[in-house]
């Protein structure tokens, strides 16, 4: 960091600058929220506009709509400057990332200095790009000016450029009021008493848990309620290394557990055992907490 100065030299009130016919027009247009360049005799559009063509050294005066040699404006007053509105969007050609910004930089957060080729221009303009993150910066990035509301006729009337809108965030949130139906209500009521309620199909005799009112295989009405578990066997399982809000610590084991007396496994969290020690056929037992199943754990020898 530069050291703190111990001597200041400053002209009181600041120097003035006469802008001349070209820069003045550019700044006046900026104040009006527009960006203009000037077209040279070679039909190139310079942005920012210049009074003298850097390629020829001649004034950037032309007969509008014509290409030809440049003449002396004093002797040929019919000549004029061909101002062309450009942009307002442009394309980043080159850029460098500034992090952290200094006190007198245009933005108080990390940003890019960029050479921006405005649409319709043949030269590039240096300005700041507020991209949020360096990852958003690339050559070819499309950017638009962010105008200040209180413009005075200065290049800083454009606060900075910002990337084009390419993505919007659509928050989709649906709120439900859910109440368990008859069958699920009975099942939950059972869980609150630390009991797994199941239903037995009167036709195919299969025992379904959670308790349900019809057989998914044959469609028969089930009204035969039986208790299953709370012990059971692991039929198969996954060791999950991606965390989930319901099991934030990894690895965690999600296991298919065939409760004693049931004909269909349920899938649940298996805990209190290192993941590497879980095996098919392992005996497990439900651990209840607060009127529901907290998880399953290996059955302990009595």
């Amino acid at each position: 960091m530069p050291s703190e100065p111990n001597h200041i030299l400053e002209f009181p009130g600041g120097y003035t600058r006469s802008t001349g016919p070209v820069i003045g027009r550019f700044l006046t247009e900026l104040r009006a929220g527009r960006i203009v360049g000037v077209r040279t005799a070679a039909r190139k559009v310079l942005v920012p506009p210049l009074e003298y063509d850097p390629e020829t050294g001649e004034p950037t005066l032309t007969t509008p709509g014509q290409t030809g040699p440049v003449r002396d404006p004093v002797r040929e007053p019919a000549l004029s400057y061909d101002f062309v509105e450009v942009g307002p969007a442009g394309t980043v050609r080159e850029w460098t990332w500034v992090d952290p910004p200094r006190k007198n930089h245009p933005l108080d957060r990390p940003f890019a200095w960029a050479l921006i080729r405005l649409d319709g221009a043949d030269t590039s303009l240096v300005h700041a790009v507020d991209a949020g993150t360096v990852k958003a910066m690339r050559a070819g990035l499309r950017v638009w000016p962010r105008w200040r509301p209180d413009r005075v006729g200065s290049i800083t009337d454009i606060e900075c450029f910002v990337p084009e809108v390419t993505t919007i965030v659509a928050n989709v949130r649906t709120a439900y009021t859910v109440t368990p139906g008859g069958a699920l209500g009975r099942y939950l009521d059972g869980l609150s008493r630390n009991v797994f309620l199941a239903g037995q199909c009167p036709t195919c005799r299969s025992v379904y848990v959670p308790y349900r009112l019809s057989c998914p295989q044959c469609g028969s009405v089930i009204d035969d309620e039986v208790e299953v578990g709370p012990g059971g066997s692991v039929t198969t399982f996954a060791i999950n290394n991606l965390p989930d809000p319901r099991a934030p610590q990894v690895p965690f084991v999600s296991a298919y557990i065939l409760l004693d007396g049931a004909d269909i496994p349920i899938i649940a969290l298996l805990a209190e055992v290192p993941a590497g020690e879980v095996a098919e056929g392992m005996r497990v037992r439900a651990v209840f907490e607060g009127g529901t199943v907290k998880w399953f754990a290996p059955e302990r020898e009595a």
Partner: protein, 382 residues
């Protein structure tokens, strides 16, 4: 089966992690225009549009078919949305084909897509329903236990999954539309990647892709260009919760295959088919589906994989395109299988063309392996 139906145009987008340059409408239109171009037709030549995609929660756009009608030139035409989870691409093709086979239309545009980058499919598949302690984390979390069960039952050596992961990614290097391109991929590289849902490793998993696929289906009298003829098509489903359900080799898959083989006159799929595009989102599903689809006996699938039978130069190449393991815009993945089967018998598969392919299987499955869709296409008229 009714009237003959042929695939006369196929269009795909280049599958990739993020297509930030296009809207969903722009994405499906890109595939549709390529399919129309392949058929030498325009939207004006299309009688009806059938669109498929996986659950709306993936992008959070409810009823996207309404929004996408304009982009697919469907104004004033019948437009149908199909949804059968991961198998939806296959089901979409079959619904479209049935409109031709039933004599309702002469030309049907079928399109399927997913723009996974707009959200997170694992989140969408892991929503916590009230009143249940059921714990499934994403598709991998759902399928991992069934893969483990297969490994235990079949006694398959642990490296077979890695062999499929390598084979399909090497095939993908020959497919210009494939998403994952991993030059030099080998078994050691796959086995060095972490377990996401043990026994599924990172490189044994499909990618998340943005993409769309489209086909133009035609009646016999309206055929243009090079047709792939539909020899059979079938769909089956089964309840996900059913006592005694075999989650490793679901009955619905066995029944669906038997139906489509009967229609196409296939008695021995390994011998009678030249190439198969089968929905394998996790590498172990290749040996599992080899058995479910009757390419070999029970518990023998891994031996075909290990012997190289399913490689591009094997006797029955599976997923010459690189498959779902290399490109997975979920809703489109099934349609891509069906489209790649058609490209093979049209002789238009490019660098991953299987020489002399005359008859090909396209396959898709979805949900908890409870929806199945299959078709067989051939170079000759059925």
């Amino acid at each position: 089966m009714g009237h003959r139906c042929a695939v006369i145009g196929v269009g795909q987008t280049h599958y990739t992690t993020r297509r930030r340059d296009v809207s969903m409408a722009g994405l499906v239109r890109e595939a549709a225009l390529r399919a129309l171009e392949d058929a030498g037709l325009t939207f004006a030549d299309i009688d009806a549009v059938v669109i498929g995609k996986a659950p709306d929660l993936f992008e959070g756009v409810m009823m996207p078919e309404a929004y996408l009608a304009d982009a697919l030139g469907a104004a004033g035409k019948p437009m149908t949305r199909v949804h059968t989870a991961g198998s939806v691409g296959g089901s979409t093709a079959l619904v479209g084909a049935s409109l031709i086979q039933g004599g309702v239309h002469d030309r049907v545009l079928v399109v399927a897509y997913e723009k996974q980058s707009e959200s997170n499919a694992t989140w969408a598949l892991s929503t916590h329903l009230p009143f249940t302690s059921s714990l499934v984390v994403g598709a991998g979390g759902y399928f991992a236990p069934h893969i483990r069960d297969y490994m235990r039952r079949s006694g398959a050596p642990g490296h077979v999954g890695a062999l499929v992961a390598v084979k399909d990614r090497l095939n993908a290097l020959k497919n210009p539309y494939a998403h994952l391109k991993i030059p030099g991929i080998d078994r050691a590289m796959v086995e060095s990647t972490p377990m996401l849902w043990e026994p599924i490793r990172y490189l044994e998993t499909c990618p998340s892709s943005d993409g769309a696929c489209a086909m133009v289906l035609s009646s016999e009298r309206a055929v243009t260009g090079t047709p792939a003829w539909v020899h059979g098509g079938a769909m089956r489903s089964e309840p996900i919760f059913r006592a005694g359900r075999d989650t490793v080799s679901p009955q619905a898959g066995i029944d669906c295959a038997a139906d489509v083989y009967r229609q196409a006159g296939v008695t021995d799929p390994r011998r009678d088919l030249d190439v198969a595009e089968v929905y394998v989102p996790f590498s172990w599903y290749e040996p599992m589906w080899l058995e479910n689809l009757g390419f070999c006996g029970v518990n023998e699938g891994w031996k075909l994989t290990e012997a190289g039978a399913t490689a591009l130069d094997g006797d029955i190449p599976w997923n010459a395109s690189g498959g779902v393991l290399s490109s997975n815009p979920i809703g489109a993945s099934g349609l891509i299988r069906f489209a790649e089967a058609a490209l093979q018998v049209r002789g238009m598969a490019g660098e991953h063309q299987v020489d002399g392919a005359r008859k090909a299987l396209g396959h898709a499955y979805g949900g908890g392996a409870q929806f199945f869709a299959m078709w067989i296409v051939g170079a000759e008229k059925p």
